[in-house]
């Protein structure tokens, strides 16, 4: 044990490796929960309902639970590895320590692209929501969405720039409101409080049950991922939590439990109130299904609550994405996988300020120039590649540092079953994605292959070979 207090105001985030300015350790489990659930919850408010269009209501439920198992494996594996490799960068840092530099570079890119694209998609959605408010209030027929898209990105970038505690406390408040809105809508429409308004038997009878058979279930899996996409983002808070061994597993596992509840309730409410043909068309039909469900309930208070919930979920997701993308970019810069200039920490706000600034124009360009469906698809595919890396990662982690060799904040049960299950589920998800977005999948893999070649031949010579490994771990088994 060290002889000085690292949690003191003067020494927090600084240490024996020569660190003069480090990220601030101020977060608790609730912030970790808010980061993970905040990124994801927008997927409950919109997007998941394309699964209904692909295969009907039951297919969407099966996709919801299939993806739920996949992400439960992700959350358990992440909780174990990140509570041990507690550094900014999350899965990038895990890959660096456990597999090697080329995998680390790729995983870092998956993370940055997945979160920056999702941030852009959220900003587009926020602009759309504000234009809908303008239209519904009779203000204007066609509002220019661009200033609102830009404002969302600039405001959240400013918040992230100013400090992680305010950023994630903001996320905690708006995510809690958005989640509570789902619970209140469920209690109000299901018959638990007052008369029930759902009509599951009528809306899910006959053709509506499984309109395209089991192939529809397979096609629905792609959009089932929406219910949970981003929960793995909790790992990016690893270097800013007060107690990584406690806060990361606690926040991540509480987050996936919250999402499993929110996803199932969302499905139950929406398929019980909205005909599947309308619910499944997320472009010309139900763009925001929970909001539409509230409108069908006929209660003005619920309409307002779910409208606010939709906007808050969108903001929370964009906010968490800026936080996570900047940490991954920062960690790569710090290890010289990217120019070391990005590895700077703001001496007053203690945030990776250059990484935050650098990613702002990229997010703006995608938000203003690229169609929403392309942005979202690129984000999902990058996420899927990242999940495929995780089983390999945890198997090697357990092999190189067996139980009892290093302290783990959390030990996930039944190893290697979750890893094998995750690998199998990812394979099925790839096939499902290939059915609908084969061209994008191939294009993205080609992009990452080209990026890998660039890293191997041009960038690797600059990487801090030894200095990047500062964890006081024993030598891995077999080395």
């Amino acid at each position: 044990m060290s002889d000085f207090d690292i949690t003191s105001d003067t020494m927090d985030g600084m240490g024996p490796h020569g660190t003069k300015v480090g990220l601030l350790r101020v977060l608790g489990p609730a912030h970790v929960w808010a980061l993970g659930v905040g990124i994801v919850l927008v997927g409950e408010y919109m997007g998941w309902n394309f699964a209904v269009g692909k295969g009907g209501a039951y297919a969407a439920l099966l996709a919801c639970w299939f993806a739920g198992i996949l992400y439960t494996c992700v959350a358990m594996i992440d909780s174990e590895v990140t509570s041990t490799v507690a550094a900014a960068g999350g899965q990038y840092t895990q890959a660096k320590h456990i597999i090697g530099p080329l995998m680390a570079f790729n995983v870092g890119l998956y993370l940055v692209f997945a979160y920056t694209m999702l941030e852009a998609a959220n900003a587009i959605t926020a602009g759309y929501l504000i234009s809908e408010v303008a239209r519904l209030t009779g203000g204007v027929v066609e509002l220019d969405q661009r200033p609102f898209i830009v404002l969302v990105i600039m405001f959240l970038a400013w918040l992230n720039y100013r400090g992680v505690l305010a950023t994630l406390t903001f996320n905690l408040v708006i995510t809690a409101i958005a989640f509570s809105a789902i619970l209140i809508l469920f209690l109000s429409t299901s018959g638990i409080l007052g008369a029930g308004e759902t009509h599951h038997a009528e809306l899910m009878a006959g053709q509506a049950a499984l309109p395209y058979g089991w192939i529809g279930v397979l096609a629905a899996i792609h959009f089932g991922l929406w219910f949970y996409l981003g929960i793995e983002g909790t790992t990016q808070a690893a270097e800013e939590v007060r107690s990584p061994a406690r806060a990361l597993p606690f926040g991540t596992l509480a987050g996936i439990m919250t999402l499993l509840i929110a996803a199932t309730l969302t499905w139950y409410i929406c398929v019980g109130l909205i005909p599947w043909e309308y619910l499944g068309d997320g472009v010309n039909g139900s763009v925001a299904p929970l909001f539409d469900a509230a409108r069908l309930s006929g209660t003005p208070a619920l309409v307002w609550l779910l409208g606010i919930g939709t906007l808050f979920a969108t903001l929370a997701s964009a906010n968490g994405c800026i936080n996570d993308a900047s940490r991954a970019w920062f960690a790569m810069g710090r290890d010289k996988y990217l120019p070391g200039w990005f590895g700077a920490v703001h001496p007053k706000y203690r945030t990776p300020y250059r990484s935050i600034i650098f990613l702002v124009p990229i997010a703006l360009a995608f938000a203003l120039k690229v169609p929403l469906d392309q942005v979202v698809t690129f984000s999902i595919l990058s996420g899927l590649l990242e999940y495929t890396f995780m089983p390999l990662n945890v198997i090697l982690f357990r092999r190189k540092w067996p139980m009892g060799v290093i302290k783990r904040g959390y030990e996930h049960p039944f190893h290697p079953i979750p890893a094998i299950a995750l690998l199998c589920l990812c394979s099925v998800a790839y096939f499902a994605v290939f059915l609908g977005y084969g061209t994008q999948l191939v294009a993205m893999i080609v992009f990452y292959i080209v990026a890998s070649l660039w890293f191997h031949f041009r960038r690797y010579r600059f990487v801090s070979r030894a200095a990047q490994f500062t964890m006081p771990w024993p030598r891995p088994k077999g080395y």
Partner: protein, 55 residues
């Protein structure tokens, strides 16, 4: 000018204010502190100080 027309201009103006704040502070910070201080962060500090990873 309609309410929503005003809101569009307000959104552009607020975006510019946030952007200006960030860029000004960035340039001032870079000019005030030496590069080796700003990029001195290293991972694993808390582990190095509190744990030796011996069971």
């Amino acid at each position: 000018m309609t309410f929503w027309g005003f809101m569009e201009y307000a959104a552009w103006a607020l975006s510019a204010v946030f952007g200006l704040y960030i860029v000004t502070d960035w340039l001032r910070t870079d000019a005030t502190y030496p590069e080796d201080v700003l990029t001195s962060s290293r991972e694993g500090e808390i582990e190095a100080m509190t744990e030796e990873h011996r069971m």
